[in-house]
Symmetry: D3
Subunit: 61 residues, 6 copies
């Protein structure tokens, strides 16, 4: 605890996502002073056509 | 901001989902008076066998 | 089903939020053709100081 | 209502997930005294490489 | 892991919520065979006026 | 986009939470190479009595 959920469109590389998991965990540990092993991070990916900004799907932007 | 997450079972067409992204964005803009570009909508789909009502998965209902 | 979760900063009026619940429900019914009673919408409010864009909390923007 | 979202790494069998949907529904009915048909449960699965504890993805643990 | 989030309207007693946390944890342990200490459950309460079914807020139903 | 939701028990200081918003934003920018202004972070706090690990609420641990 805490648990972090990242809602992101598909399309990043595995390396970028691995880096994100690591850096978000560090951010939580440094800010909240919790033990690293208590921090869970999940990346919930969504296809670009199922996610929009301004009503326009990301595969059309 | 705000961000809207729709938890739905798989099975709708892309056209239905595109319409949903557009109409939900309009609903937020009309209700909260925010700029359209600040509204993010994500459709988080779940296979019917991983989602239930009354304890019965949607692929068995 | 589906279930819609709106993550928003605090600060809108109850009337705005009631309108949002109604309009999002209509958007889902019109787009997915589901029965109105199957659509659940939740507004998860966050204090402005606990929500940020660009790393800056909304109470400082 | 209520709606339960389970964030889990991929890898369990369909039988395990069916059991989970059923048992969580029972837990909510017994605890909150609501009608079974009002309880929605969704299992949001994440690939092990997109989910971490302690900054280490579950496919490397 | 896994993490369970329960989206519920306000109004239940602390005893009901304590029972829910316990029973959902047991449901996950029995279904997924994970260690009890790895299961996190959060109840995200919403005021009845900010949550609706069929477009009607729960404080008006 | 992306949007990050942090599910945490109540109890941290505003300074800790401000630091968390900043550091998570930096983590996303550095990992995904997105513009800072596109990153939204929300801290969804839960009272300790409504959140558990191993079935035991955090106010009893």
């Amino acid at each position: 605890m805490p648990e972090v959920v990242v809602f992101a469109a598909e399309g990043r590389s595995d390396a970028q996502k691995r880096t994100l998991l690591k850096k978000i965990t560090e951010a939580v540990v440094e800010s909240f002073g919790v033990d690293k092993e208590s921090v869970i991070v999940s990346i919930q990916e969504t296809p670009k056509k199922h996610k929009s900004r301004g009503g326009v799907p990301f595969d059309e932007r």
